[in-house]
């Protein structure tokens, strides 16, 4: 295990369950099956549909006058909602099957740089999650939609998305995680 210095880390980064080549081909196979039978994978639109559906119950007038969600289709949960449920259950099943299911409140990288405070981690991942969704909808797709399904179809939007996403993610990751935890090789 390569130790790269962690001031007050509470853990280390484990090896992935599968070799990277098998993992990459597995993901590609699932995306191809989805493309053939349904269409591109895209999760972020479902979050907006869920929000719109909730807003419809609270303030139907606002929803009916909103250019983005006044159409009933924009508020409909369908394939994507079931796909999200399946993603949750599939990861849970795989984690249990490999003996890696465990309640965790933070990550090794985060605790190495910011200590073990759960509340601090929760606050920052909440903001991070909100940014992810706002960015995904502005860009008309998330990492699954642009990086996997977008590149699969050679979408013209995939290149600018990939470029700006990776550059910004690397800069912010460096600012928030300057110190590396021990990493299992």
């Amino acid at each position: 295990m390569a130790r790269q210095g962690a001031s007050y880390g509470v853990g280390f980064v484990r090896k992935a369950p599968l070799h990277w080549a098998i993992g990459g081909l597995l993901i590609a196979a699932v995306v191809l099956v989805a493309e053939c039978a349904h269409g591109p994978i895209e999760l972020s639109a479902e979050f907006v549909a869920a929000g719109a559906s909730g807003l419809d119950k609270v303030s139907p007038t606002y929803v009916n006058n909103h250019p983005l969600i006044k159409n009933a289709n924009a508020r409909q949960l369908g394939f994507g909602a079931w796909f999200i449920l399946g993603t949750f259950a599939g990861a849970a099943g795989a984690a249990v099957a490999t003996g890696r299911w465990r309640v965790r409140h933070t990550s090794a990288w985060w605790s190495s740089n910011h200590g073990g405070s759960k509340l601090k981690r929760y606050a920052f991942v909440f903001v991070g999650g909100a940014l992810v969704m706002i960015g995904a909808r502005l860009a008309h797709g998330c990492t699954s939609g642009h990086l996997l399904s977008g590149w699969a179809q050679l979408s013209a939007a995939a290149f600018p998305f990939t470029f700006s996403m990776i550059v910004c993610a690397m800069i912010v990751a460096r600012l928030f995680h300057p110190e590396a935890p021990p990493i299992e090789r």
Binding site: G93, G135, T143, W151, A152
Partner: protein, 173 residues
């Protein structure tokens, strides 16, 4: 169709976890270039789906669904999304998968995503719609946008990606 969504989701979630992408430590490690596992997995997956989609399209019609190419909105959105990943290590798919694997902070991140979805609705007319109108282009492929045939793009991407993957496979991190 709902059952099919559930089945594909089950496979996708399992694949994300087993490949190591459903792990914020692997994502941050890749972004910091200290642990290249997630980069290798993602690059191979992207190359395989590009080539696989091209092969499949010769025998079977796929269901296209290209996103609009509003260049400014895509660049700004990609940067904001990247910032979110750089903070927490979660994107929508990996956040949901990590929540399934027992990570409470991932559940909080998914709640943040729901809040972000609501914020997007609220700011759509004042921010998103004007941004989409700048450099607006209809959904298109690289072939439509550049007049270079898709097969040429596939060859270039496969060679460049394959060489990069070979270098990454030999890297010690």
């Amino acid at each position: 169709m709902e059952i099919f969504g559930l089945i594909i989701g089950l496979l996708f979630g399992a694949a994300l976890f087993l490949s190591g992408l459903a792990d914020p430590d692997k994502i941050i490690g890749a972004l910091r270039l200290k642990d290249l596992h997630a980069i290798r997995v993602t690059l191979l997956a992207v190359l395989a789906v590009i080539i696989g989609t091209w092969i499949v399209s010769m025998f079977h019609s796929t269901h296209p669904g290209l996103p609009p190419n509003d260049v400014v909105a895509v660049l700004v959105g990609g940067a904001i999304l990247g910032a979110g990943i750089g903070i927490g290590g979660y994107c929508p798919a990996t956040g949901i998968a990590c929540a399934g694997a027992g990570r409470i902070d991932a559940i909080v991140a998914v709640m943040g995503m729901l809040a972000g979805g609501l914020l997007y609705i609220v700011m759509y007319s004042s921010v998103a719609a004007p941004l989409e109108r700048i450099a607006h282009h209809n959904p298109s492929t690289l072939q439509n946008a550049t007049d270079i045939p898709n097969i040429a793009w596939i060859v270039v991407i496969a060679i460049a990606g394959g060489l990069t993957l070979k270098a990454l496979a030999n890297a010690r991190v």
